[in-house]
Amino acid sequence: MATEAAPMDEKAKRMRDLLSSFYTPDPSISTPTSSISTSFDNINGPSFDADQYMDLMIKKSNLDVLLQRHVQMAAEIKNLDTDLQMLVYENYNKFISATDTIKRMKSNIFGMEGNMDQLLHKIMSVQSRSDGVNTSLFEKREHIEKLHRTRNLLRKVQQFIYDLPARLQKCIKSEAYGDAVRFYTGAMPILKVYGDTSFKDCRRASEEAIETIIKNLQTKLFSDSESIQARAEAAVLLKQLDVPVDSLKDKLLEKLEQSLDGLQINPDEASKLAEHNVSSKDEESNNQGPAKIHEDAVRGFSEAMRAYREIFPDSEERLFKLARALTTTHFENMELYIRKRVSAADFLGIFRIIWEDVVLMDEVLPEAALSDLSAEAAQVTLKQFVARTFSHLQQDISDTLLKFDINQKEVVDGEVLKVVLEASGKAEFRQLLDENTGIFVKMNDLLIGWIQKGFQDFFRSLESHFLVLSGKTSSSNETEGLVEGKSSEKIHAGLILVLAQLSVVIEQKVIPRIAEEITASFSGGNSQAFIPGELCRVFHAASEKLLQHYIDTRTQKISNVLRKRFKTPNWVKHKEPREVHMYVDMLLQQLEEVGKEVKQILPQGTFRKHKRSDSNGSNTTTSSRSTTLHSDKMARSNSQRARSQLFETHLAKLFKQKVEIFTKVEFTQESVVTTTVKLCLKSLQEYVRLQTFNRSGFQQIQLDIQFLKAPLKETVEDEAAIDFLLDEVIVAASERCLDVTPLEPPILDKLIQAKLAKSKEHNNNNNKTTVSS
């Protein structure tokens, strides 16, 4: 049995292996413990080969062994079989119980789903409830926490406020106003709200401290001795303390504004200022001149502005306004100033002052664009000044001209005017140009343009002014056209002559001179507004027009005398001539006036004989012929001879060349007088032609004309023409006479002598009366 025990062990081991292989699907994994049986002869090995085993057995062993073996094997197989059966049975039992268990489980699981849902639902509601509770509690918790913190803070604040008065006092002592203000403003809200409670005393104390601080700060702000920085800080602090700084600022600025009045340039005193400005330049010692004072004032003003600007940065706009206002008033005053007559020097003096002021202010307030503003204003002012200067010039001229009526001699030399024209013309404006104050440099071109334009317009308006003065306005101007006719009587004829001569002077001297002046000083720039050629033409035309107008006016007057003379009597029933008619006196008086005026105003011409129409015959022969005729005539004595003498006059006229009566008028005394006399005699002739005379009427004409002969020849250079025209009158009268019987020369002579004596006596009487009176 021992032997059996060992194989029995082996047998058990094998069995286990087998069983485990049963449960183990993969034989390769089977434990290698059975390695001994791995050989082919291991019956439990996988590589067991029954045939080989048999072969081996047979070969190696005898029958016994074999039988033994056989029995052994058969027993083993039987054991195995039983084991297997056992195993199956056990497994089956287990399987059955497993199946039961599963069956039970299945029935248990069924119906669990609903419970699970219910469960989930409940869990959810539980969760939400817990959240709600959580949040509702959170706020409170937070609040509690905040309150807690506040309480801590309050505790600190309380401490702070209680300390505040002391602290402030400390600050006042150390002049640390900044800190004090910071503390106070910090405490301010609390004090404000809880001032009435337990902080009352505290508040009062700190307020008192702050009062002191404010006072200190204000004094600091207003004191000019403090640095600007300090003042600015004080202002800032005051502002922080809610002290109404704006009212302070307003006060300060108002003060500044009020000081503006003092800075203004009074137009009435401006000239003094300008004068002193000029003189103070010469002598530096004279510091107390008004200009200096003004300058200092403006300097102070601009300094103040600088300070306020720093102190109240928000006041810039107002300062700008102030500065601008000052600049504007400066220019306005300037404008007022130049409304009166101002010399260019004074003008420039004031201008310089203003410009300096502007520069001072501009330094402080460059943003105010003062220089632009003043440049604009300066342009306007300057333009006005130029315009005014021209209008003053014109005023001068017309004033001088109007004085003419009152005092003839004064204006006799129109040279005065010429001087006025020239002197004020160039010097004034050149001074303007020479000025190199800032803006002027910029405006040079403009200025040149204005001056040129000014001259051009000036002369143009002068010309029309002349024409208006002379009463010869252009008909295009309707309103004046009406006046023309009426006022022409009032206009002194001499004035017209002065105007005519003046036009000549302007044309020949003034305009070229000014043109020269302009090219010398006022050229440059691109404006060519001054056109001397055009002006010369204008004045040339004007001078001729005016001269013609003068002659027209004069002859018109004489013509009126003549018209009356010829219209009044009935010439057909005229009575025998007893004396030379008095109209002759009037005629001569008028001509004398012309002569006087002309002598005073016009230049003397080179004396020359009357010029007749060029191509016809020679001059001298005709005039000699006519003179011989006249001397002949004088020699005859009886009426028969007188008649034939008249006939000879006719004859002479036939052979004589036509005398040019209407020659061009020249600007000489002689030419004007001659023209006037010629026109008058022509009028006389025409009036005679319109009448019909009886013998006496004719004789009266003859007498009058004979009387006129001598004085007329005295006044007129062109004797031949006068002779001719006087003869023409006689001829015309004889043509219009029903019975031509000339007066006999002795009678003629007697009557003329009587007239001469009478007029001499009259003159003497006149002289006596003037002397006695």
Binding site: S475, E478, L646
Partner: protein, 391 residues
């Protein structure tokens, strides 16, 4: 060479007179078809056609009713000689001036106007030396005979006492109305040429203060007549015979209406030449022209070319003006510019005269011709064709 002889004012011997006449005849007076054109060309420079009257003369009139020829009537002014009326006709070529008729007139003629509807009828104002008279004459038929024939007196306008200035024919053409004017009175006549009678329709005094000197009948309004007086231009309404309007203007010597443009009136005065008026705004003249060196005696607007104005003066010249500004619109537009440019309105000055020029007439048939008459009796016809505005 010797110029035109004056008619002898002296009572010199017959021989003397004869020789004078001979001289005249040689140069100026030819009884049959006178043509002095050659003389005019001899003088050079002038394109005018001349004709010489025997004596001095002041008036010339266009024969408007003669539609076949350009004719003029002119009459002499001589106190002592026998005065003549000449009917002159411009040949068709415009190169010759022919005397179509020569008629003696009893007195010296101060005014002459041709009837606008009958070429044979004309009016004269004449003076005996002591008194004035006015009459309507008819040229006898057939006229054109060489010898001077007598005129038929149609009517004598003898309603005046003082100095008669002028006789105006109604410009409408067919009307038989006439106006005669002396220094104080305006008389409207109705003429019946077939019955040889003229009747006063109405007569009105202008007042002693207004010494009338002449006038013009408004061609645009037959009821309106402009009369010049010493101090103003008066406008008379012939229906009421009242002075309805006036322009204060002293010493206006002559007046003429612009036939082409209504309301435009041209005047000549001593003082300042020629004025052009627009009667709708008569406060001031529309335009002023310088006129003449001495008196401007007469002005005439061209019947066809509205801008052309002629004036004659005692400076022995005839001036032709271009007055564009007589249009009020242009005046306002141009006045500024014009005054600046100083355009010379004087187109031409005809100066080829020996003495003062008093007579002036445009031809209404050929409106580029005008006749002028200087005191020495010289008629000159000129053409303004070179100066006509381009159209």
């Amino acid at each position: 060479g010797p110029k035109n002889l004056k008619s002898g004012p002296l009572r010199s011997s017959a021989r003397n007179q004869r020789s004078q006449r001979a001289a005249n005849r040689r140069e100026t007076f030819l009884p049959e078809s006178v043509n002095v054109g050659s003389e005019a060309t001899m003088q050079g420079g002038s394109s005018g056609i001349g004709y010489g009257l025997k004596y001095q003369a002041r008036c010339i009139s266009d024969v408007k009713a003669d539609t076949d020829h350009t004719s003029f009537l002119t009459g002499t002014l001589s106190l002592k000689e026998e005065n003549e009326v000449h009917l002159l006709r411009l040949s068709s070529g415009g190169s010759e001036l022919v005397c179509e008729g020569l008629f003696s007139h009893p007195n010296e003629i101060w005014d002459l106007a041709s009837c606008p509807f009958d070429q044979r009828i004309f009016s004269t104002v004449f003076s005996t030396g002591e008194s004035f008279g006015a009459a309507i004459w008819q040229i006898p038929e057939p006229y054109g005979q060489s010898n001077s024939s007598t005129l038929d007196c149609v009517a004598s306008l003898d309603a005046h006492v003082g100095k008669i200035n002028c006789v105006l024919w109604c410009p409408s053409g067919k009307s038989d109305k006439l106006i005669s004017m002396d220094e104080q009175n305006l008389v409207l006549w109705s003429l019946d040429s077939s019955k040889k009678s003229a009747e006063v329709v109405s007569k009105e005094s202008a007042g002693m203060r207004h010494s009338l000197s002449g006038g013009a009948w408004n061609p645009h309004d037959v009821n309106s007549v402009a009369a010049t007086s010493e101090s103003s231009i008066q406008f008379w309404d012939l229906r009421t015979m009242k002075n309805v309007n006036s322009i204060e203007r002293a010493h206006v010597r002559n007046v003429d209406y612009n036939t082409k443009r209504e309301h435009i009136l041209v005047t000549a005065d001593d003082e300042s030449g020629i004025h052009i008026w627009d009667l709708r705004k008569a406060k001031a003249p529309v335009q002023e022209l310088p006129g003449h060196t001495h008196w401007t005696w007469a002005v005439r607007c061209n019947p066809e070319y509205e801008e052309l104005i002629l004036s004659v003066g005692t400076d022995s010249a005839v001036n032709l003006w271009f007055a564009s500004a007589s249009s009020e619109k242009q005046a306002s537009e141009r006045s500024a510019e014009a005054s600046r440019q100083r355009v010379n309105p004087l187109l031409n000055s005809y100066t080829d005269y020996e003495d003062s020029v008093y007579g002036l007439a445009w031809s209404s048939r050929e409106p580029w011709f005008f006749a002028s008459l200087s005191y020495d009796g010289r008629v000159v016809i000129e053409s303004v064709k070179p100066f006509l505005p381009r159209r």
